[in-house]
């Protein structure tokens, strides 16, 4: 089997294992390229439908193009979209200059509230190992503890494709169907499956976004890539890291580790 096909079929297997082994799973969708691929894989896994809720964690700081993309494709694909917001955090005084505090309040806390309100026991999300050294340590099935934390000191073993890890009661397991994919794999799949992506990924006036999230914390990178083919060519030759434009990754050493230990994606 060629790489793309192998990745696709294994991801579908993982998604179905989550569906078969948990009572109330849901998938996160940020409208970024990775989670859009994850939604496409869920649709393929279940013969054209997504049989669980699709969650968007809204910080109200996303790019306008992302909201438009969300509404259009949620409708076209018939998704059961749930928008999660930390209302108190949005109304209150979150210090946006402190990235760790802001991400934790507006994303992690919003997710925590939604998981509790909906009684979710598994959350599918599209993180990849090659994005960040800390994410490279993840398992496909990764339990969170009762405080919502990732105990990276003592992760359960994961043997072959036997995804036996379960969480304690009242908490959940993170399921990572795209863990083995690279940034280039994601774009190749977008091309192969003709998937839609937010047009912020394509260059305008010599700049494009490689990674999108909250508008104040994303910087475009220099690029002339205006088509999918250009993006693929750029990624095959570049030596600039994918998350170069993401503020979270520029904070003090180990910021990502701290964020993730607290339950961040």
């Amino acid at each position: 089997m060629e790489r793309m096909e192998e990745l696709e079929h294994r991801s579908i297997y993982i998604i179905r294992e989550a569906y078969a082994c948990f009572q109330k799973p849901a998938v996160l969708w940020s409208m970024g390229k990775d989670s859009t691929v994850c939604i496409a894989l869920c649709r393929k896994a279940f013969l054209g439908t997504v049989p669980f809720p699709v969650i968007h964690i809204d910080t109200r700081q996303k790019f306008p193009a992302m909201y438009a993309f969300r509404d259009k494709w949620a409708k076209t694909w018939g998704l059961n979209l749930l928008v999660a917001e930390n209302a108190a955090g949005l109304a209150g005084s979150v210090d946006c200059s402190d990235k760790l505090a802001c991400c934790t309040a507006l994303k992690t806390e919003a997710l925590k509230q939604l998981i509790q309100a909906q009684g979710l026991d598994a959350i599918l999300l599209a993180i990849r190992r090659d994005e960040h050294g800390v994410r490279a340590k993840e398992r496909h099935f990764s339990p969170r503890n009762t405080d919502f934390q990732w105990n990276y000191h003592d992760q359960p073993p994961e043997l072959w494709d036997l995804f036996g890890a379960r969480a304690d009661d009242n908490t959940h397991v993170r399921v990572h169907p795209l863990l083995d994919w690279t940034e280039l794999d994601v774009w190749r799949y977008v091309q192969r499956e003709n998937l839609p992506v937010v047009d912020l990924y394509f260059a305008k006036e010599g700049k494009r976004y490689r990674s999108i999230g909250c508008a104040p914390c994303c910087e475009p990178v220099e690029s002339e890539a205006t088509t999918l083919e250009d993006i693929l060519h750029e990624l095959e030759t570049t030596r600039i890291g994918e998350r170069q434009g993401r503020a979270q990754d520029k904070e003090a050493a180990y910021a990502m580790q701290q964020l993730r230990a607290l339950g961040y994606m």
């Binding site: 279940f46 013969l47 054209g48 050294g133 800390v134 340590k137 359960p156 073993p157 890291g241």
Partner: protein, 405 residues
């Protein structure tokens, strides 16, 4: 050529993470920023290369690998995934996690220290888990003055041991990951050495295609309603199936015909090994998760008692009569440990104890398992997915193994 996933194993501090860092750096696979940082650190920070995969603060501060990590890179020939693993005995569960994801192994041995307990245990696990493509790197040649004699001595010792556990190493290569000798770039400091570099040896690895007959095995994941019909979702793990054929589902021996094969929303004529598909069956009603679909005259053995070689990776020992759960393919079945026939010493390969009462953390053994109802199994070298399993106790994975018979 397809992908190659290589687990890097060996004793604590023999240089596993450093070799990975060196491979990534010398093949130009690191992002510019990371490479710049490395160049700045230069010779003043010997841990810099290892820190590329050792990304947790505890790992960088303590200069050891706590959990397995993976790094991806490409050559003109193929995609590689390097799986870093911890060498400490207490993190064996993380080493095993990494190893079960690999098709090939790189066993790293310190040239000055030679093979130590975890070298032997890791080698034993690599062999037990059925990894046949193995390269040995004799690392830190700089510490033994790049001496030819020392290399040959170790090389013979290790090749001899591996042979006893059924592994023929594809290459044994002298390197210094720290100094960059013979990992990607040939070294001028070992004029006696005519062997390929480690990277060349990796490029020469070829995964052996399984020869001969591959029986159909379709692992049922779950029934799923599709447009008013019951589809059966699952994976063809071996062989192939096609529209119109008759399949039998075991345990339970339910025989029915395949009406159509679905890949997403698309109807396809057939599905082959590795594909996750949906099946519309003539009579899907009795089919449930855990069953295995096969050709009528070629079903897997369904048994409630089997012998296996296992590893135990939980701090609480496994004892005879312990209630356990076996995960095999998509099957999950309760049972108990009937016998711990032999606890094996991975260094001498002799039995430490026969008919043992318990199996401790990080030990390997031959045991007999009895299950409450039949489990479908196959020889691991014919259908790997039905020849291996995880063992759960109190709902947590505590070990795993490979079925002997």
């Amino acid at each position: 050529m397809g992908d190659l996933r290589i687990v890097v194993a060996g004793h604590v501090d023999h240089g596993k993470s450093t070799i990975i860092g060196r491979l990534l750096y010398d093949t130009g696979s690191l992002p510019r920023q990371v490479a710049d940082r490395l160049e700045k650190a230069g010779a003043s920070d010997p841990a810099a290369l290892a820190c590329i995969t050792d990304q947790l603060s505890e790992e960088q501060e303590g200069s050891f690998t706590l959990d397995t990590a993976q790094a991806h890179f490409r050559t003109a020939q193929r995609d590689y995934t390097l799986i870093d693993t911890p060498g400490h005995r207490e993190f064996l569960k993380n080493m095993v996690t990494g190893t079960t994801q690999a098709d090939a192994a790189l066993l790293v041995v310190d040239a000055a220290e030679g093979p130590l307990p975890q070298t032997y245990l890791h080698a034993y696990l690599i062999a037990m888990l059925g990894i046949r493509e193995v390269i040995v790197a004799i690392n830190k040649m700089d510490l033994v003055s790049y001496e030819c004699h020392r290399f040959h001595l170790l090389s013979r010792q290790i090749a001899g041991h591996l042979q006893r556990i059924g592994v023929v190493p594809r290459a044994i290569i002298p390197v210094s990951a720290q100094e960059g000798d013979h990992v990607v770039r040939p070294s001028s400091r070992m004029s006696w050495n005519l062997l390929p570099t480690l990277m060349q040896a990796m490029e020469e690895l070829v995964l052996q295609e399984q020869n001969g007959y591959r029986p159909l095995r379709f692992l049922v994941q779950c029934p799923f309603p599709a447009n008013g019909r019951q589809a059966i979702l699952g994976r063809v793990t071996s062989g192939h199936l096609h529209q119109g054929q008759t399949i039998v589902f075991d345990p339970g021996h339910h025989q029915t015909a395949v009406v159509s094969v679905l890949l997403g929303q698309q109807e396809v004529r057939m599905a082959s090994a590795g594909q996750s598909v949906g099946l519309l069956l003539e009579d899907p009603t009795p089919v449930k998760r855990g069953q295995v679909g096969s050709n009528v005259d070629d079903a897997p053995v369904a048994t409630n008692r089997f012998s296996a070689r296992v590893f135990w990776i939980s701090p609480q020992s496994l004892t005879v009569k312990d209630k356990i759960e076996v995960l095999c393919g998509t099957q999950s079945c309760r049972g108990h440990i009937e016998r711990i026939a032999k606890v094996i010493d991975p260094v001498s390969l002799a039995a430490v104890k026969t008919d043992a009462a318990r199996l401790d953390d990080s030990q390997v053994a031959e045991i007999v398992i009895r299950t409450e109802w039949p489990v479908c199994i196959d020889p691991a070298d014919v259908v790997p997915e039905l020849g291996r399993f995880a063992l759960l106790r109190d709902g947590r994975i505590g070990g795993g193994g490979v079925i002997v018979k």
